[in-house]
Symmetry: C2
Subunit: 296 residues, 2 copies
């Protein structure tokens, strides 16, 4: 088997664009597609070929998709001009979006009908980490698909975490991790607002906690926004956060695992969107604490 | 002013004993007292003097207290044989327990009647961090009291965080931080159990999250217990956690800050104690998620 050097990439949003750019920089022959064609221009300038349809990136046999939600993934895979059946025998679809486990199962089944494989590979990291090729990537699916995808994943990320052969496992882990980010946002919102209510500067509390007990990337990054109550521009907007917590809640119900904190975070996002905060970062769910305390 | 070299220390529990030991090691003349006298023996072996009553440690003019709750702090300060009025004009009480802000205010008022000062100085860190003199110490009170206490604090901790002159401020910050630990425990409990419910190993999820997005001391330390569901022996037992979340809830009500996540965590601790888990570490509140999911 010769090393695969050509790869298709569908989805050039805030995450996909820097990820595809890193593939170009790593020397792969990248063909990109995006529904809004204008977003492909910077990639073309960087050296990528551009295709007008999802199917147009499939010729090389390996396609990476990085899209906003389940519907978008289904459309580019299973829709008219979708990639399913166009990768060819032994083709590989590396599906990196945050979607439900069932979506992964359906894609795997449909691709398998054509002798194609799916690797489920959702990522942790915000756009700045995508740019720096420092994403952490969770993978589940066939082991040989993991091996084949590895050179591409290494060009986009800093770590690959294997959750076995069950296709949906990486989806569940990704949803669990995103839930934990929302939970940390709620916790910081409550803690900082409690202190503020007692006359203590939110930022000084954040500085203490995020440099000692909670010295984590999530607490430092999201926490700085929550301490300062600065939720724009969004790295990841509230409606996408709501989508992920809804998927997490569905996965929890399927597994019979009550998650009251996940429910609370989901209600915060619904309330935030009700307040017209669609374009706020989802850390802005913590603003719900300030609202409730009459400190909006 | 000559440097203060003698200091009294009251409260030789899991935290107080290593803290007092570090003061002895740093060369201070330490006189200790503990309600259960047997716990003073290791300190005597290390070179400390031992007093039979709280008042017996007050002669040097500076006393540090590290006790389990508000009642214990009041007893050694304001009770018969308490230290109030026995430190002498210019005396200093360094109050390091996790208590309500009102307790700090009352102690400050009562000591002031005798020309004595209080420094409120609760600590973050578990017994192993106390042993290593790596505590983080929040302080509030008069600035000159902070300066006088500093040599003692430096012998026990790695960082001192100043929250101003309002006596209760450090108490509020400490309660907010402990709430965040409980919140993180609930979040990890829900996340790991969601994954477990989908057939994914809890420990592998913990390994990913606690070494990337949530690479914090709290997530690594408490999270390892929660992943493995190992809650004994306790570093900090459930009833003390319940005490702290009750104080946090009272502080929240006073400041008019609804904290639904704090309420959830408090209910988890009540349920845990109802299940006979008094001697579990308070991270065991996460076991409530497993109970609810029929995975006890």
């Amino acid at each position: 088997m010769t090393a695969q050097t050509s790869v298709g990439f569908i989805g050039l949003g805030a995450m996909g664009a820097p990820m595809a750019t890193n593939l170009v920089r790593a020397g792969f022959d990248v063909t990109v597609h995006n529904r809004t064609a204008a977003k492909a221009r910077p990639l073309a300038d960087a050296g990528a070929a551009v295709a007008d349809t999802p199917a147009g990136v499939a010729a090389g046999g390996v396609v990476i998709t990085m899209l906003a939600d389940d519907a978008a993934v289904r459309a580019v895979t299973l829709g008219e001009d979708g990639i399913v059946g166009r990768l060819g025998e032994g083709g590989l679809h590396v599906m990196m979006s945050t979607v439900a486990a069932e979506t992964s199962h359906e894609l795997a089944r449909r691709h398998a009908e054509h002798g194609e494989q799916v690797l489920v590979a959702p990522v942790f990291g915000r756009p700045d980490m995508a740019e720096a090729a420092k994403l952490n990537i969770c993978v589940s699916g066939d082991d040989d698909a993991k091996a084949r995808a590895r050179p591409f994943l290494d060009a986009m990320g800093v770590g690959v975490w294997d959750f076995g052969e069950e296709f949906g496992a990486a989806n569940i882990v990704k949803l669990a991790g995103n839930f934990m980010i929302a939970a940390a946002s709620e916790a910081m919102g409550e803690a900082y607002t409690l202190c503020e209510g007692h006359g203590i500067d939110r930022n000084s509390v954040h500085e203490l906690l995020s440099s000692t007990l909670f010295a984590s990337p999530v607490h430092q990054g999201y926490g700085a926004r929550i301490a300062a109550r600065t939720y724009q521009p969004a790295g990841f907007p509230m409606p996408l956060g709501l989508k992920d917590l809804t998927l997490a809640g569905e996965a929890a119900a399927q597994a019979r695992v009550p998650m009251p904190l996940a429910d609370l975070c989901r209600q915060r996002l619904i309330a935030g969107i009700a307040h017209g905060r669609e374009d706020w970062d989802w850390a802005g769910l913590a603003q719900g604490v300030s609202d409730d305390a009459g400190r909006g």
